[in-house]
Symmetry: D2
Subunit: 314 residues, 4 copies
């Protein structure tokens, strides 16, 4: 795919993700780790404006000089401002303003991408693509948080029910032989710096499940006192459980004696055969400990996962 | 004015105040003391629905049973909910939903108010009017906070410049004789319970300025080290100054060496002849102390203010 | 009593109060509002050294120049120090050092007080006396807190049981007529500035109990749901109850189904006929509200209390 | 060494470490990570009482049943207590009480250790020895914190100056070949569980300095803007620097333009040839980054350090 097509495709997909949102959904920031969707829209745009258009387009006029402050993410290097501006406090720029900003920058980018690119610009462009795709992931996670923590539990988009899975997952443990393995990115194209360098690690023989833990299995853990027995937990994790009164994974709600799960289609009866998700590291570690196992290390996971096609059942 | 006309007039005025807002401005809650404008719109509506329509209209069907949770203000009495809902986290109900809620309730109210009212209902209605008017004041204060703490400093509504005041205020101190005075609400109509009971107080002779402190005077205080000399401040106030790095009243910004004031028309050069406003109790007390005076007590203020027409110059 | 005798008597009494303490009890600061006893001992000494000896004794040599930092209470005016020094973190100066400091200063004071005093010095001396007596009150309150919040509940000093009171208190409400009253210090000698100026207040007719609320009465309030019904509480007070899980006055402990009260003689069965004490303003206001009454204002209390001999039964 | 001799030697050494302390130094807890010395003395004693004497000595009578609450470290499993007990709030038990507790337990242990031990008891005994030795390390670190954060900077114990080192350290970088290495405890005797299991790791070729970073080198980092340039720091580390106003390692104080270092002998001129110590992980990582290097991983460090005798110069 040429750069122009790629650019359009990525930029369009971000907007497509926001399509089901109401204006109000773009604005809020329920917790510090969530960014308002309009900030994601603005920030990814600011990236192309700041690192490509301002650098490589002679005479480029920025859309609004104030946006540099509002949409950059390196607050450290920005001069002191007189007022405190949490992302979730900002009603302006409006969503409409942000879409106008996107269009303005996209138009300039499209024009630029019709020419041949210098090597330097090409590299920044690729970072911009990957940067925006990373924010697409964050965006979905943040949208789910915003809607799933609203007492009305609005659906993002009601999907027609997928064909019901009827099998019961029957995990097998794959044995991985001891030996020297290589991990890290081995491809040709773009990768983030923390995926490098490709390097060797020694792994002792270990076994790893070929299936993800299901909600049914996680429920067993809960019903066996998972959240009340500190023996399963890291010390930090147990403090987290007690301080926050954690009793179930995020998005699980016991309503009238029945476990419900907030999904992008709204509240649903908990599907026992689906993989458990939105559990924290602490919960995952406690679950493993309850099972008499432990979590895989990063290297064990990477090698185990590379070994076959994961999750084909899901 | 009959009740129906009064009802319409008050309800319309609330909406009129929101007229200059963008959808996004209705949603945010920058600090705990500010409520999102859409919450004010919903809450005042919830009052009429809950205390009048549900009580007095047979067969009344509530607009949405969930709104009772979202728009009541007595969180204490509401049963435990599984999720944490700060007002400023809630993107739903949308602004459009809230306006639909207002219309639904207003229609029912208008119909009801065409009949004659029981004494009991009349009393609740009057509370509802005053309750909404109180929220209109809060609304303006909250809107100013939301816009005035945005780094873009958007104007609420740019007014054509008022005719420039050219006089220099020359305050005089009014002497109030010692004696027994009556304070508290003395009228016939509605008042809030904390304006009662009318009662006698003894005041020693005192003097009180017949004009409000101006920005010019307050600036003198600042330039004389008002915010750096702890002798002027209550102990609590000084802690507040130091903890928060307070250096000027809220909404004052020194930009390129010039004091600017955020007003509903946006950032403006500080008008030296206007009354200083948005100062906290601590700042007012420190200013008075610097002047070698003290703040008036509530009773001194009420009697002093009743004595003549205040603020006719402003 | 001449100044020298007064000085000795006050200084001795402070030490007498500390007599039952172990060295360790002098050191700790369980909460920010409590000062370690050794700090009280040092600070009252520092007062005489700083404001009398350093001012009026030619060639006076301070005991230790560092103590000015350690024992002053006006941290605001002290230059920045490189380390954070909460009073309760300081193991040094030791208790022995502090007693040596007291002796050093007392010796110099005793010598000085054998001469005639200037008017100016006399005034400061009187402040020093009253300042130390104020700290004696704080000292007892702080000692009780330190011992009463230790899981071993050590007694300060076990008193032989006072003769058991056998009567049941039967409070009467005194009616105070409406009228102009004078409040504030009216004597000749020393008083603190907040006891001045003597001034007139108008009081409406009111009634005030001639006896203090007993533990029995307070227990009635508790057993009638005093700590669980938010209607009795100020909004701030209710937040305090909920945030801190308050269920009884400080020092009350329900042990094996029986209310115990930590007293200076250690844990004791709650004496139902004693006045309730160590209740906060919030608790007092909630109790009054439950009774269908309200707390007296400062002026009502001062006039009501001046009217007869209080507490002769206790 | 037989168990009895070992027991006595370890128990004595703990007390020896406390020898220079004043009673007051045993009591305070300036920060949450520091435990009061008397708690260390009591806790290590509680270990032998709880896991050996109570288990293996028939009819053993505990010194004080309350101490189980005061000196255990597993607060999680202890039933709810009515009062909050931070270790640093507790003036009782006194230091004298704690020494009596030690003596009581030691006497019983000495008697027990004169008999032959079961395998099970032997294992617990070894844990007790190592547990106490671990607390000896903590004790020294906590004592230094307590004294070194006192504004009087008391010395722990003034040592006669060691013979002055005159050489300038000249570090060399040792090259470690790539390959499979074994790490983890390989000995016969006791080790903690986190030193196990002995396992293989693959290391890429790397270089590691054969000397520790000196204060002189660390000062170069500081003078080159180490604490003001966020590029050197992890994001978390930079937040730590800014939030806490960190400008130098703990215990370094610039006094009258000269760097002083709080040592166990009190404040001393900074010795430029000594290894930099009391730097946090963040500071170590920032220093390495400034050097154009990185910190060694745990495995790199273990293998590098095993390769030759470290620190023979210090």
């Amino acid at each position: 795919m040429d750069y122009l097509t790629q650019f359009k495709s990525i930029r369009d997909y971000t907007i497509q993700l926001c399509d089901p949102l109401e204006t109000e959904d773009y604005v809020v920031q329920p917790i510090i780790d969530v960014s308002p969707p309009k900030w994601h829209l603005g920030h990814t745009t600011w990236f192309f404006e700041t690192f490509i258009l301002k650098q490589f387009v002679e005479g480029y006029k920025v859309f609004d000089p104030e946006y540099d402050y509002v949409f950059n993410s390196y607050y450290e290097t920005v001069g002191a401002r007189v007022i405190r501006t949490d992302r979730g406090n900002l009603s302006r720029p409006t969503v409409k303003d942000v879409y106008a900003y996107r269009k303005y920058v996209d138009d300039a980018m499209v024009k630029l991408l019709q020419n041949s690119l210098s090597k330097e610009m090409e590299e920044i462009l690729l970072i911009g693509f990957n940067h925006e795709q990373q924010h697409e992931e964050l965006l979905m996670s943040d949208i789910k948080y915003i809607l799933g923590n609203n007492p009305l539990f609005p659906a993002y988009k009601v999907e027609s029910a997928l064909e019901k899975k009827t099998f019961i997952p029957s995990p097998e443990f794959l044995k991985i032989k001891e030996g020297l393995y290589e991990i890290g990115y081995a491809g040709e194209g773009f990768c983030f710096d923390n995926e490098l360098a490709r390097h060797r690690v020694f792994l002792n023989e270990y076994s790893i499940s070929n299936q993800l833990v299901t909600n049914a299995e996680y429920l067993d853990f809960m019903e066996d006192g998972g959240y009340t027995n500190f023996n399963f937990w890291h010390s930090d994790g147990w403090a987290w459980v007690k301080t926050n009164g954690i009793k179930a994974p995020m998005y699980w709600h016991k309503i009238d004696g029945q476990w419900q799960n907030y999904t992008l289609s709204g509240l649903q009866d908990l599907d026992l055969n689906e993989p458990a998700n939105h559990v924290s590291y602490y919960e995952a570690a406690a679950y493993a400990s309850w099972k008499g196992m432990r979590l895989a290390t990063e290297a064990e996971w990477e090698i185990g996962a590379a070994d076959f096609e994961w999750g084909k059942r899901w």
